[in-house]
Symmetry: C2
Subunit: 247 residues, 2 copies
């Protein structure tokens, strides 16, 4: 944990930590009074917390917090992802939050199996702690917005414009397409919406629908990767390209 | 599976598949006589296999194989990785093979826990099938070479030159360093050796030793990632940079 995330609305002043966070500061970081730790407010500013009190008999830790006046921008990439199998999705939550995504739209597709939608991995009580874990790892406060879409066509044709303000839309598709960096060379400033298909790929209808809605195909070369590896690799490449425009 | 890997030394002609590979062709791909599948010889050429016989009473499948005259080059990136915990390492094997690495050197470091070296995840009988799984996913035949090093200093000072012929050495290190693409702008042609540290980072001694042996620090920006996420992200960025030199 590289950042201690505190509840939304926390403001400057003394904060008494929950048992699990206090335990982490004590047993993993081994803090003493006077030590400072990086803190952040969920969906709010980052700042510094100074340990002012360690209770000898309870796990209690009190931090005196001071927060920045600005809130970090949401990451510049949104993700449209064909829902992977639950075991893979469970692992991806923290990774996606750590890599940085503004919004995660999980969608159906022909090659997504229906039972995937009925898993507890899509319950907010399960994924939110995993997203926060990723943010604390990567030092960010902005929790990715998450929506789940069982109707691919409705999502792409009717809902997408309202969900993501990214002007550049990219579609990961194996084949002889430009790399993310090449595709993004002309799009320095804006946000990017990246679509990643299921392990078996989008079908022709799905691919056509996405291209019809302005998604430009990209690829990472000749190697075909599994969804989870592809997601991480593509997000790294897209972030790199939007961070270094014109490179 | 996008490529069916056959034992080393397989040559043109009829090949009778093992039960598990025959089962995959029958039940997952549903092949019929006359169908063709992509095949490859482990550490050898790729080619095409035509289904010539499906036995009705046994799982047996016979392919008539024809292989290319050339063998794919080894991937242009080698990896020096501080051994992550066994659960993470187990997941990484297939991902690393799929992304493409010529050699994987797993090393000790201050922040690597000693018991990690005693796990079955480092036994060839465990990791080789996972490497082959990654190669079959990404359509490559070249199995990454794997070595395990309990002595970091001996590895870096005495053994590294003999293990990796990569002329460019990069050290992933959080901080204000150039991106992989920037660092590699001058190094179009050669192979790259990438060093990725443990979750807690290299210590100063380790970092100094690597820099003394020609490793140039790179970073992916301000977000700190876990080892497994960082490995996948960095390999994607380095492959992209060596594939598109000067970009």
């Amino acid at each position: 944990m590289n950042l201690l995330l505190l509840p939304p609305g926390t403001s400057d002043g003394a904060v008494t930590l929950s048992d699990s966070q206090a335990g982490h500061l004590r047993s993993v970081l081994g803090v003493a009074p006077g030590d400072t730790v990086r803190v952040g407010v969920i969906d709010g500013p980052m700042g510094t917390g100074t340990v002012v009190h360690l209770d000898a008999t309870t796990p209690q830790v009190v931090l005196q917090c001071q927060f920045d006046t600005t809130i970090p921008d949401a990451p510049r990439v949104d993700l449209l992802l064909a829902l992977p199998r639950p075991k893979v999705m469970k692992r991806l939550w923290a990774q996606l939050a750590a890599l940085g995504v503004g919004r995660i739209m999980l969608t159906n597709a022909e090659k997504v199996e229906r039972p995937y939608f009925d898993t507890h991995v899509l319950e907010e009580s399960v994924y939110r702690p995993l997203l926060l874990e990723g943010l604390q790892q990567a030092r960010d406060t902005r929790v990715p917005l998450v929506t789940v879409h069982r109707q691919f066509r409705k999502l792409v044709e009717d809902e997408l414009d309202g969900l993501s303000n990214a002007r550049t839309r990219l579609l990961a598709d194996p084949g002889a397409h430009p790399s993310p960096a090449t595709a993004l060379r002309e799009h320095a400033a804006g946000r990017v919406l990246l679509a990643v298909g299921p392990d078996g790929g989008w079908n022709d209808f799905e691919r056509g629908l996405l291209i019809g809605q302005g998604f430009g195909p990209i690829s990472m070369g000749t190697r075909t990767l599994r969804t989870d590896t592809a997601c991480v690799a593509l997000l790294a490449l897209v972030h790199d390209a939007v961070t270094r425009p014109g490179a």
